[in-house]
């Protein structure tokens, strides 16, 4: 019982960390960044490089954020900027970007599965049951990310400009806000966040050039039903992630993998604009 509850909470946390970057990009720019999976992969490989350089494990997410953020900003400037107002073309372009990035990673590191040592190992006793310490850490990381970005959005000047652009971009431009700069920074942060997710999941997954792909569909579905709010994303991750764990545990893990996609399709059928207050 305890294990099941912890499974649900930690799965929701991991889904949140992976999807947050995609949501931020979607909320501001109204496009889905299909290169999100490649940025997850970049983050994981950044963690690999960090461990090879002998850096302490806490620095791996920071290195990942730097790598993801810089590459994301460059991608925005070169690829995405030309496609404002053309969301379908942007999807195609970002998908192409992800293929290019995947191949570059393969060229640099090879196709094989790489190994990154886990920063903390072993179990923690929770109410009489031993549970994976690292998975519990993910809950803390998810909360930290949520708090950090809500703070960024509500408590900084950049956050103010970003909220203005989200509400009405033309009006914001009319008030003198440099919306191009906001978009650049947002895209960079979204990709950096994807990279952090990649770095954080390496101890639980294998690091190979295609690792991000299995997360993309789930993240995409969660963002679509969440609309634009981080809070709704958190709730969606909890509900859908929880249902996935329940399906995997009580029916079969194979059907569990389908849960998020099927439920998201149902939810969008019921409420196409997503569940956030518009």
């Amino acid at each position: 019982m305890i294990t099941l509850a912890l499974d649900i909470v930690t799965t929701a946390a991991i889904l949140f960390i992976v999807s947050a970057g995609l949501l931020i990009v979607f909320g501001v720019m109204k496009i889905i960044n299909f290169a999100h999976a490649s940025f997850i992969t970049v983050g994981a490989y950044a963690a690999l490089v960090a461990s090879r350089l002998g850096l302490p494990p806490v620095l791996a997410p920071a290195l990942a954020f730097l790598a993801g953020g810089l590459i994301g900003a460059a991608a925005e400037r070169v690829v995405v900027r030309r496609l404002y107002g053309r969301p379908l073309d942007a999807i195609l372009a970002t998908w192409g970007l992800s293929i290019v990035m995947g191949q570059l990673v393969t060229l640099a590191f090879g196709r094989e599965v790489q190994f990154v040592p886990a920063p903390i190992s072993g179990t923690v006793m929770i109410l009489g049951e031993g549970y994976s310490g690292y998975r519990l850490l993910m809950v803390g990381a998810a909360i930290a990310i949520a708090v950090l970005f809500t703070g960024l959005l509500n408590g900084t000047r950049l956050g103010l400009s970003t909220r203005a652009v989200i509400m009405n971009e033309t009006l914001a431009q009319g008030l003198g806000i440099d919306s191009a700069r906001v978009r650049l920074i947002t895209f960079g942060i979204g990709c950096g966040l994807a990279a952090i997710a990649g770095a954080l999941i390496t101890p639980l997954a294998s690091v190979d050039p295609n690792m991000g792909l299995s997360w993309l569909i789930g993240a995409f579905m969660l963002v679509m039903i969440s609309g634009g709010s981080l809070l709704t994303l958190g709730l969606s991750c909890f509900v859908l992630g929880g249902l996935q764990v329940l399906a995997s545990t009580f029916i079969s893990p194979i059907l569990g993998g389908l849960t998020i996609a099927v439920l998201a399709a149902v939810a969008l059928r019921l409420r196409p604009e997503g569940f956030a207050r518009a």
């Binding site: 196709r111 599965v113 190992s121 031993g130 101890p203 639980l204 299995s214 995997s248 545990t249 993998g257």
Partner: protein
């Protein structure tokens, strides 16, 4: 240019090409097709398989090749799955027109490939251990089947660890299901009980709910049979993260993957027909030759790659015995020749399968495998009773 002029030019060109081609035909190399999982689940082990093939080809060519012809390798990527295997085999059999196929593949890829092999009538030496009972007049197998690999582990857990309740985890495809079906039957035959049996799709990486079920079933031992490479890594990492410390028999891990996993792999039991520690002259000279050829790029030779090396030599022996590369003659000879390799004397004489010496080992903290017990010439039993040879 008038039509007559260009026609005679074409005729002249054709004549020249034929004259030039004639001597080339005599020295045409024998093409060995190697479709292997360069991407996908097998990408971890595929490089070692290719290296084995490359060393065998180089050694044989240095001694004059086979029947006076040099050997050439054609490597193709089957993406470790059925769809990729179809493409790889189609291109090797019908475009590159290889004389023989020698490779290690996932069972999904092998099952998709067999109809193509039969259509193209090309001998196929399958060098991967697998779940058994796959039969084709065109295929020979020089790696182990469950009848050879599973009893050592189950007997050891039963007798030395007193394990009575077993939990089984696998990847959801022919190998995972086939191995665990045999394991379950053998456990029940030897007085044990299977308290749980769970599968995840081959490319799945989230074992959370399965691990939770494992913990709540409280077994005495765990036996797993996932696809080689990435699934092994994710499952072991997540098991260790969840604090699972049961006796853990892994039917599908190889030394190279175990070494890469570091401390997470410590304590895993494996049963294999090859470990680098085999104390024989043939193995030592093999390892020296591999080290010399590949140096720092060497991928640890393992139970999935060494049979590839021996299979190339088996093809050489069969072609020389048949005095031709004609597929019917080679297929007949493959069941009769024997090869002395790093794993000892291998003869694919039992219904297209081979009796093998098996080693029960345990992964140590430094990633090496310590041999606990060895079993000589374990019989594969009746794998293909309907095949005539």
């Amino acid at each position: 240019m008038t039509p007559t002029r260009s026609f005679s030019n074409v005729l002249a060109a054709a004549a020249c090409t034929t004259l030039l081609a004639a001597p080339a035909l005599a020295a045409e190399p024998i093409k060995i097709g190697v479709p292997v999982g360069l991407s996908g689940a097998n990408s971890v082990v595929a490089p070692s398989v290719v290296q084995s093939a490359q060393l065998a080809v180089e050694e044989i060519n240095a001694k004059g090749g086979v029947l006076g012809r040099q050997l050439a390798l054609e490597v193709a990527d089957d993406a470790s799955g059925a769809a990729g295997a179809q493409k790889a085999f189609d291109s090797l059999v019908f475009q590159k027109k290889v004389d023989v196929l020698i490779s290690m593949e996932t069972s999904a890829a092998r099952n998709a490939a067999l109809p193509i092999v039969a259509r193209g009538k090309v001998p196929y030496i399958y060098t991967s251990f697998y779940e058994g009972k796959s039969c084709s007049p065109f295929m020979y197998v020089n790696a182990w089947v469950p009848e050879q690999q599973v009893p050592p582990i189950v007997d050891y857990f039963n007798k030395e660890k007193g394990a009575k309740k077993f939990f089984l985890i696998g990847s959801d495809y022919a190998f995972g299901r086939g191995m665990l079906a045999f394991t379950k039957a053998y456990i029940e035959k030897t007085g044990g009980k299977v308290v749980g049996e769970e599968y995840l799709p081959m490319d799945g990486s989230d074992w959370t709910s399965i691990i939770s079920k494992l913990k709540s079933a409280a077994p005495d031992a765990l036996i797993t049979s996932t696809a080689g490479g990435a699934p092994n890594v994710t499952l072991t990492k997540q098991l260790r993260a969840a604090g699972v410390a049961l006796p853990y028999g892994n039917l599908a891990v190889d030394e190279g993957t175990a070494k890469g996993m570091g401390t997470d792999a410590e304590g895993i039991y494996l049963s294999a027909s090859y470990v680098t520690g085999i104390d024989s002259a043939a193995n030592k000279s093999f390892l020296d030759a591999m080290q010399k050829k590949f140096g720092a790029e060497l991928k640890t030779p393992n139970d999935l790659s060494v049979p590839e090396y021996e299979a190339v030599y088996a093809y050489k022996a069969a072609a020389e015995k048949a005095s031709s590369t004609d597929e019917a003659k080679v297929l007949k000879a493959l069941g009769e020749v024997s090869v002395e390799g790093p794993r000892g004397k291998i003869e694919m004489s039992k219904q297209h399968h081979a009796p093998l010496t098996m080693y029960l080992g345990q992964v140590q903290a430094d990633g090496s495998v310590k041999v606990i017990k060895s079993f000589l010439n374990v019989d594969p039993d009746a794998q293909c009773p309907n095949l005539k040879s």
